[in-house]
């Protein structure tokens, strides 16, 4: 469904993504794992089109020159030149790293802002659905985004992304800085959402163990290149992967 072909991103002369080709089919959860500076966030920005926006801003301010080559395909149609807002309309919704909630708005308002692209009925239905998947949010409806704990913020961020009616949900490090309990709660929630809403999910993380049980296919990035890929079972059996991303020696 969503596919990146030979994607390369340069920040000035630094190669951030090196010939990456990844693919995410319908109703699949794809994991992208890698250490800091492996290129996970750059990949997410390139897929969601935010990179075009960053590129334009840098260009206007005379900053870094960002070069993008390769292709991003949505249902076999190239969307490489598509603006991020249009990509969102086409169903590619990014839930950004470090959540980026609207801190001065309440949980309910945060979710409503996310529903800008949805019809009124869809928004109402999705709002109820988010409360159903993350019941912890019911009591927090009126609380401001900045006063939530990390885990609650992440729930709102995922909820906000869902409100935009995604076909493909891009989750950039959703487990960043969360307790193991909260991590498993969220991962279960993401699995439930993927199954019940029939969407595809691309999820990036540093540490693979909590995410691995739900992914169908995974890529491992190192220094901007995809060094390994495979289904869950294939990667599980690989001793290198085990050592580096599961903490098993």
């Amino acid at each position: 469904m969503l596919e990146a072909k030979d994607l390369m991103v340069f920040y000035e002369n630094m190669l951030a993504l090196n010939n990456i080709s990844i693919k995410c089919d319908d109703n699949q959860i794809v994991g992208v794992f890698g250490a800091n500076s492996a290129g996970k966030s750059t990949l997410m920005y390139a897929l969601s089109g935010i990179m075009l926006d960053i590129q334009k801003k840098e260009d206007m301010a005379g900053g870094e020159r960002i070069t993008l080559t390769g292709d991003v395909l949505l249902q076999n149609r190239s969307i490489m030149d598509m603006k991020p807002s249009l990509r969102a309309k086409a169903g590619i919704i990014l839930c950004p790293e470090r959540r980026r909630l609207f801190k001065e708005s309440s949980v309910l308002e945060n979710l409503r802002i996310g529903g800008y692209l949805a019809t009124r009925a869809e928004a109402k239905q999705t709002m109820e659905y988010v409360m159903e998947v993350f019941p912890a949010l019911i009591k927090l409806k009126k609380r401001l985004g900045g006063f939530l704990s990390g885990g609650e913020q992440q729930m709102v961020a995922i909820g906000r992304a869902l409100m935009a009616q995604p076909k493909i949900l891009l989750l950039d490090e959703p487990l960043l800085g969360l307790s193991p309990f909260m991590q498993s709660t969220l991962i279960r929630g993401i699995k439930v959402i993927q199954e019940e809403r029939n969407i595809s999910v691309i999820i990036s993380e540093q540490y693979a163990r909590p995410v691995f049980p739900i992914v169908d296919y995974a890529y491992i990035l190192e220094n901007g290149a995809a060094v390994m890929e495979g289904t869950r079972e294939e990667l599980m059996d690989n001793p290198d992967v085990k050592a580096a991303y599961f903490g098993v020696s």
Binding site: M60, A61, G62, R65, T69
Partner: protein
Amino acid sequence: MSTQKLRKERIDRGIKVRSDGLYALMSLRELSYLTLPRFVLIAGMLSLPFLMPDMYWQRVISIVCIYAILALSFDFLAHYVGLVSLGGAFFIGTGGYVAGILNSYYGIPPVLTVPLAAIIGGAICTLMLLPCLPLKGVYFAIVTLMYPLFMARIIEAFDLFGGTDGLAGIDSFSSAFAEQYLVICTVLIFLFGLRRFVTTDMGLIFTAVMDNDQAVKASGINITKYKALAVFIASSAGCMAGACLTHIYMWSGISQFALDFSILPIAATVIGGAGTLAGPVLGCFILVPVSELLRDFGTLRIVFYASVLVGFILFRSDGIMVFMQRKYEQFERWTKI
């Protein structure tokens, strides 16, 4: 179908890389590469009074330098301390009045009033701005914008220091050359002094306060104290410019609190290149003479100003200085991906 893809890359010039290190000391070529831009600026500015013998243009040079000092102080505060100041008029007015009072009431000669105005005026400005320094955000900009209006109205309402007529009959500098070399040297000293200063330990603290004041506080540093120090440096520069202005016109009055002094330095900073310190000076050398040339068009000058400003923000928001520096230090070429 295989299309060959090309990408434009920026590479540092060899001579730039070599002159970054100790190698520069061993070769005349590298030494001159390093000193050429600075030499052009210094020599150019020092020879201006000779190149422009016309009285009118000599006055313009002095005004340019006064604006350049203001632009330097704005750039320093905004891009090295993170305080956006709209207080150019406040600094000029305070410095101007302090110099005027010292000269006309106490008979102190200009040689002493200029440095005294810098110190006393800087202290007054810092004290008046002190209450808003612990705050973060737009408060500093609002307060600095409000003070010149406030001062002008107070002087007008209470008829202080000559009221609306101002203080007339102030001594001028001994000669036109003395006047011009004073302001030119002040600009050069502030320019190179600040450039050096921002790389010292204290300059690092200023930059850190701009980036993340909480982390600086957590390192056990009193940020209000440092902000006050930065405001003192910037406002003394502005007050010194104000004192020079008073002695140049032999008059100080409430028009020294005019907002032109706040706005033009900002425009010059945008055009010259924010955060480069040399850029704002360059911006003043472009904007002020152009505005003099356009004097015939009256208030339409403002239209020209505004369009230049908008144009620069849209198409060259890095500013002339950054652009030229990049051309001087780097070259571009196409490479295969």
